[in-house]
Symmetry: C2
Subunit: 335 residues, 2 copies
DNA sequence: CAGAAACTTCGTAAATGGTTGCCATAAATT
DNA sequence: AATTTATGGCAACCATTTACGAAGTTTCTG
């Protein structure tokens, strides 16, 4: 592969000059520039990004750490970020943390050792303290979907508590009082907050929270199925079900039909996240919108602004959920 | 950030020795190793991957180019690859090509300039010739979901024609003869081949192919909706519908219900890809399985074998689709 | 048991492919 | 002719790897 040295030789100029025409900062006469450009073309020269990073201590790439690479949720984060970063000619290096502390730390260290200019992290297992400590280090980062008061300027998050509140409220306003809940893993902040919001809504409407109508899932569809089975097997009556995400809601819907329930008449269901498939389920799933795409873009803008000094208006830190009404909730049926 | 130099100083050894203990290849006495390790720990030393790549001309990272970062299809590719590569301590750099030639070339060049040890490409717009030319260059790559005879050893692909055949056959065997088709963009190889397989099945069963019962979509759900609307508006009878992927099938199902069709009695539908949501649609979507996860892993194994010289049994190149029977196809109804 | 041979273990120094501050030169301006 | 100014070159530097060779240590041989 051709090097800058060969280019300079062919063009009859010095190394520095070639470098200058690549990084348009310094002035180079038009004639010289043309010679250099021609030489580059002739040699099919591709600058060695690695060498460039080493010398300039800049990599023009930002590291992203997500829990999983698979699934609609994370792919939305990645694609939102990539879109805005790419437009500014920054690139993206991705690692997966698999929601485990060691792997998350591993991933972060890898990204740092790769000399990313900044990191965008979706981490769930690493402690607040670790992140606060990390924030004192040399590598800037933003958090997505997590809020830590001490470093709140670096956090882009959703008001999950309010989201939990809204989803329960939708059911309550339709007259439901016996409401089951399929939760995400409670050690995850978002699951925890959603559940808190749920309880707040119940309290506000004077509905009793029945702790036997609770199932802690893991956010995967299968745990929605499992959760509904268990809830049903108790032979306790409930007319409404809130699931802490759409995946589980979808699993629960499948399972409900296996149990010969007529949806939505026999059971009103609400989800959370508003993934694209929510509107293609039958009945179309009412859910809480998670403006993940905007949030992902916000983190990317944070990086552009903070790290690359682009002039960008203020980056929004806290986003609000919104209830999306579709067909899966109906007024409670009199019997 | 601490450098290898500081470590060598603190440990009282030379640079080379420190390097040796990191890359366990050369021999170092235990005493020396311990001193070095202790120094590293004390300084919280993290090797600079960038400098390492430059010097060793190896980056331990492989570049992935997919069309989109978003969606179940691509996230499955990425996650399959990452899983096997990560297990061998290789890392992953991702770029998106957005199905456009310039962006795909751009992405490839970026990954090369980043000195990836190998590339795994899901490209749709770039020409065969470009890829054949690229294969003569210094950077090894595999193609996923594309077959080019001249470089078939570097291709991991699905027999899409056979898949198209299977999906039509399922409908035909249930007695359907009036079958509509919602295609992917025909300039994409896979869409093209699926459609060919479809026609082969029709011919084999002596069913007439009616070209007015054809709609060319773009693989997104919305084009499934649009497609079904148009097909329906023609007031031509059809009892079966094959969609070239599950996303479009899902869109078509939503739209069918808007038109008051009773699924599956009024219309039998089959999809393609077997994305995870296919089994959560109602009725559960019969579809053709695309063993994408295995294929993604196969490409990663190709890299491990070819580039990193790991001993791996033969990597499978051509994968076979398989029909997955669920609830969306029923025997044609007599009227 | 001395001395040679053969290993081990470790240090020196030259890459790797760029960036960039500083200085020199040539051209342009007054 | 003197002073600016626009260009371009030199060389140091970025943090590693690695070929080569120099000690030091062990084993072998007569």
């Amino acid at each position: 592969m051709a090097t800058i040295y060969e280019v300079s030789e062919l063009a009859g100029v010095s190394l520095a000059t070639v470098s200058r025409v690549m990084n348009k900062n310094a002035k180079v006469s038009e004639k010289t520039r043309d010679k250099v450009l021609a030489a580059m073309k002739e040699l099919d020269y591709k600058p060695n990004t690695i060498a460039r990073s080493l010398a300039s201590n800049r990599s023009d790439s930002v590291g992203i750490l997500v829990s999983e690479l698979r699934g609609l949720f994370y792919s939305q984060i990645m694609s939102g970020i990539e879109e805005v970063l790419r437009a500014s000619e920054k690139h993206v290096i991705i690692a997966a943390g698999h929601s485990k502390e060691t792997e998350e730390i591993d991933g972060i260290e890898f990204l740092i050792s790769r000399r990313c200019d900044a990191l965008i992290l979706h981490v769930e297992s690493v402690s607040d303290d670790y992140l606060i400590e990390l924030s004192k280090g040399p590598v800037p980062f933003v958090l997505i979907n997590r809020h830590i008061p001490e470093i709140s300027a670096r956090c882009v998050s959703l008001d999950n508590e309010q989201g939990g509140y809204l989803s329960a409220k939708a059911l309550l306003e339709s007259g439901h009082r016996d409401i089951a809940y399929i939760s995400g893993p409670l050690w995850k902040m978002d699951a925890n907050e959603r559940f808190k919001g749920h309880q707040r809504a119940l309290a506000e409407f004077g509905a009793h929270y029945d702790e036997t109508l609770f199932f802690e899932g893991d956010y995967a569809e299968t745990s929605g199925e499992e959760g509904l089975s268990q809830l049903l097997n108790q032979n306790k009556k409930f007319t409404g079900l809130v699931c802490a995400n759409d995946y589980m809601a979808s699993g629960a819907m499948s399972k409900a039909r296996e149990h010969q329930l007529d949806l939505p008449a026999d059971l009103s269901i609400v989800g959370f996240d508003n993934i694209i498939f929510a509107s293609h389920l039958y009945p179309k799933l009412s859910t809480v919108n998670y403006p993940l795409d905007q949030m992902a873009k916000a983190t990317a803008n944070w990086v552009l602004k903070t790290v690359y000094n682009q002039k960008i208006e203020k980056v929004q830190n806290l986003f609000q959920p919104e209830f999306i009404e579709r067909d899966s909730v109906v007024p409670v049926q009199r019997r």
